[in-house]
Amino acid sequence: MIKLNNVTKVYKGTVVAVRDVTVDIAKGEFVFLVGPSGSGKSTFIRLLNREELPEHGTIYVAGKDIGTLGAWRVPFLRRNIGFIFQDFKLLPKKTVAENVAFALEVIGKPRHVVRKQVPAILELVGLTAKMDNFPHELSGGEQQRVSVARAFVNRPPILLADEPTGNLDPQTSVGIMKLLDRINRTGTTVVMATHDRSIVDTMRRRVIELDRGVVVRDQARGVYE
């Protein structure tokens, strides 16, 4: 599903964010990216979403070399990749339902599809009762659930999450992880960058550890360490 071959990303010609990374992630896997701040986790995720291009190496997502994709095809790649932000990035003047519907409207989905899929995904994340609320009326955990709903409403085969529990308390984080685990069980590949030791240790999934841009550990059913 995701394959990186000898990928190196350098910022401003001197700062090496990711160095000679080779990783293979199968369909339906749940992968934690761990490592200290500045270790290259976010760059790793941004490379998968084609927000960044590597200086060296190749990246395959769903069988396609995304480094050679024309700029006009990048949006179509991204429709296959859901993205969850640490700071939720909800639109404050839109309701919960409108925030989620926005992700479908801007890729040109017809109204009847939007009307069907938005309530279904809000039910999945447990926010049906709050679909008409605005983001400022929600708790942090609820806001992150909306962010998850927005990322998954189009049912992408890949979900990327950049420290999705970073702004949440431990109890709320558990709820978000249960939700991501549930999504993963539908066959969706999940790649999640995190600093949260307890989550990684509890879930015991594949762990890829980065240190100064280099993969120093790739362990099945791993722990944070």
């Binding site: 179509f76 991204r78 990035k89 992700a103 801007v106 890729i107 040109g108 989905k109």
Partner: protein, 298 residues
């Protein structure tokens, strides 16, 4: 996955509403600049129509009587052909005079209906070698009162002064409109850049979820187009008023005889209107294109 008209209209409307004051400023600036631009063309048409028979260096016209005999006509023609002081001349017969009459009075068909070619005088339109006023007066006087001649009319200094004044006025209109159109283009650009910045979070989400570049750009481009078209509509109303009051007022029957041909026909008015609309679209296209290509990183 085509653009949904509902989505595009909603987003464009929101963009315009968010920047309502600067949008209004852009619309007014575009309207005034296009009004000046259109006014330049209308005045040019009006002046051309008023002085049409004096173009090409023609300094005087020998109007023959409609009932002048062939002998009288040949006599005048021989004098013109034989004069070394005359550089060139054009004979306008009754049919050509009738065509000219139809063009001048195309807005008043009732007048055309009561006139036929046989009542209109043929004429000799003369370009002298020397356009000096005294020389022209001396030359044209040779034809006054001769058999078959109805009247001799000279393009006096007043006509030349009006042509020069009109040239200056229309030049001011043109320069003013170009400066204002440049300002309007910059205003459209600024408005769109402002809309892009105020919607930074939405654009980021749109990019992440896979909206195409055009899906992101079109509402912003449409915003510029709406401003330009509204400005063009305002300019059109202004041009209509200019034509109905100033230009038609100057050509009233009780105004100066010279000004009676000062008019713009409907074809000229509508071609100017189309030009104004076309310029509006070009202006919005330039402003929008620069804004979305330089300031919208998709």
């Amino acid at each position: 996955m085509a653009l949904s008209p509902r989505y595009v209209l909603r987003e464009t409307g929101q963009n315009l509403w968010r920047n309502v004051l600067s949008s209004a400023a852009a619309i007014i600036t575009i309207g005034v600049s296009l009004w000046l631009f259109g006014g330049f063309f209308l005045f040019n048409y009006a002046v051309d129509n008023a002085t049409a028979r004096w173009e090409g260096g023609i300094e005087f016209v020998v109007w023959m009587q409609p009932e002048a005999t062939a002998e009288q006509d040949a006599n005048i023609r021989n004098s013109i052909e034989g004069s070394p002081a005359i550089k060139e001349w054009v004979y306008v017969d009754q049919n050509q005079a009738y065509q000219e009459f139809r063009e001048i009075f195309s807005d008043t068909p009732e007048l055309i209906e009561v006139v036929s070619p046989d009542v209109l005088p043929p004429s000799y339109r003369v370009v002298p070698e020397n356009p000096d006023a005294d020389v022209v007066a001396e030359l044209s006087d040779q034809f006054v009162g001769r058999p078959g001649v109805e009247e001799v009319v000279s393009a006096d200094q007043t006509i030349r002064d009006i042509q020069r004044l009109a040239d200056k006025v229309t030049r001011v209109f043109l320069v003013g409109s170009v400066i204002l159109l440049t300002a309007a283009t910059l205003l459209i650009l600024t408005n769109i850049v402002s809309a892009i910045r105020s919607r930074g979070a939405e654009i980021e989400i749109m990019k992440v979820v896979g909206a195409t570049n055009w899906f992101i750009r079109v509402p912003f481009m449409l915003e510029g187009l709406v401003q330009a078209v509204l400005g063009a509509m305002g300019a059109w109303v202004g041009l209509r008023i200019l034509d109905d009051t100033v230009i038609k007022g100057l050509s009233e029957p009780d105004s100066l005889q010279l000004m009676q041909g000062f008019r713009v026909d409907q074809g000229e008015f509508y071609s100017t209107s189309l030009l104004v609309l076309g310029i509006a679209i070009v202006v919005s296209g330039i402003g929008s294109a620069v804004a979305v290509t330089r300031y919208l990183d998709v």
